[in-house]
Subunit: 344 residues, 2 copies
Amino acid sequence: MPDIVNRQVVLASRPEGEPRDENFKIIEGPVPDCGEGEVLVRTIYLSLDPYMRGRMSAAKSYAQPVPIGGVMEGGAVSEVITSRDDKFKQGDIVVGSTGWQTHAVAKGAYLAKVGIPNQIAPISTAVGVLGMPGMTAYTGLLNIGQPRPGETVVVAAASGAVGSIVGQIAKIKGARAIGIAGGKTKCDFVVNELGFDACLDHRDKDLASLLAETCPKGIDVYFENVGGPVSEAVFPLLNNFARVPVCGLIANYNDSAPPPGPNMAPALMRSILTKRLTLRGFIVSDFAEQRDQFLADVSNWIVEGKIKYREDVVDGLENAPRAFQGLLRGENFGKLVVKVAELN
Amino acid sequence: MPDIVNRQVVLASRPEGEPRDENFKIIEGPVPDCGEGEVLVRTIYLSLDPYMRGRMSAAKSYAQPVPIGGVMEGGAVSEVITSRDDKFKQGDIVVGSTGWQTHAVAKGAYLAKVGIPNQIAPISTAVGVLGMPGMTAYTGLLNIGQPRPGETVVVAAASGAVGSIVGQIAKIKGARAIGIAGGKTKCDFVVNELGFDACLDHRDKDLASLLAETCPKGIDVYFENVGGPVSEAVFPLLNNFARVPVCGLIANYNDSAPPPGPNMAPALMRSILTKRLTLRGFIVSDFAEQRDQFLADVSNWIVEGKIKYREDVVDGLENAPRAFQGLLRGENFGKLVVKVAELN
């Protein structure tokens, strides 16, 4: 394919603290050969998600870091150009972890066909409500959070890709859903469009007391996807036997060292003990076997109007680094995706 | 009962840091009347357990604190003197939370008959291996720890009432049991008598590296009953999907304020996330419905020689305050009980 130029966003250096422009570099090069069992795709929508900050650091985590000079990792919705895997043919729409680039060659085994009927949702949702973020919300809330009717569920980043789905599924299960988001516009959306019972602004200095007022019967499920001050406001309100699915800690992703004291770890352990809390970390792939059930349930809920979603679409791969930096600052409004190319 | 004098250990003041002699007072007084549905008992064995430190503090916990001037709380094995509850008669041996005193009047509903056959174990074990501490080990390890064959289970205070049973049940379930205890004598006992695979001395300055050597495949279950430096040595060695039943935090019970920084709570949350740990606090009464199963299993294991236990018996109620102070410093060797009176 000598006439195709592949544009890639690579990791130029590891950020200390917040990622900056100079940590990324855009390069161009040839598309690699498509070997036996492989598929050449062109990227349509690239997903930007907070977990990618972890891949930029050398610290030990559940996945290897991106090497310096390597293509940034990320899930994407793509169109098949050439297939040397019998399961795919030219023109198929697929989803997979193909990275921040305009083209990719991937093993067929690592790709999945996007089978979302047109009338349900656009293909971009294969990296959104019907993809990894939606499944993260679904599996974490239902397996670990286990909300029961009448219980109170709190989730931050409530207008975002994961939080928005957590609260709506909590409502479907008969629980109260309390969101936390950044600013009045997002909070209004969370309540008026998504149907949460309430949404608080995390920038409010009285967050802790407002949250206590909003949760007069305490908090039974805290879907932890931010950490930091929101988490500190939530923990004292947790009820006995509360469940805390630990999904993300975006507030701490840019930390290069533990914050100053006092050391609150013993107090955290003490609250786990005395309130008999369950804290459990997870990543979506831990529940891979629930994918079909997730797709069936959430597709139905979308059709029934019980789950709504919002996308924040940025145009052009070259804008991905800036958009990602904004994501970590909460500047996106809805699931952040980069439109890399038009679908013909 | 005008001729019976009841001796009681009451809480004279709330300790700041380690409990001291002056926090306790021994008083004498009459035995209260035994009302309808109540039972008058005389204490034979009083149990001393770390959780009692929590009752001495005003801080919020899963139970109310002992009021100043109130009788110290505690489980005991007693003999019925007078019963106004049809379920009990004079001479019955019962167990219940009757406090640090020579006599008590309790509602029959809060007492249970001790039905341990003589040939299995002495009645003192109704507050030990066949009582609250044994059931704490059993329920916490099996419900939350869920050790599988070949996995590595670590427990501190390994010669103590709970830790000793945790490790032995881990062995019964096919796991490796690694104990941590204070000093060579206790460690030798844990390995040679209780059959743990290894036992490390928590006073050893190289605890972290010794633990890493002793657990070459990492740690799958950490039964958390101490907190502090032992916990800090264990957490970096936890494997993905490790389970941490949070049972006690004796290292922190005397803390009056959070320790100095840095603040390790975010790092703790990060390890929960990236290793997908499960931390779950519990107290034994959360699993009250498993009492019959616990008694059946552990009695069988004692008869089969698979579970051994050691008691550290202190003579005389007046020695309970000192013995309790020693317990918090790890000076006991085995389950600590106070022999308050002879069984005739």
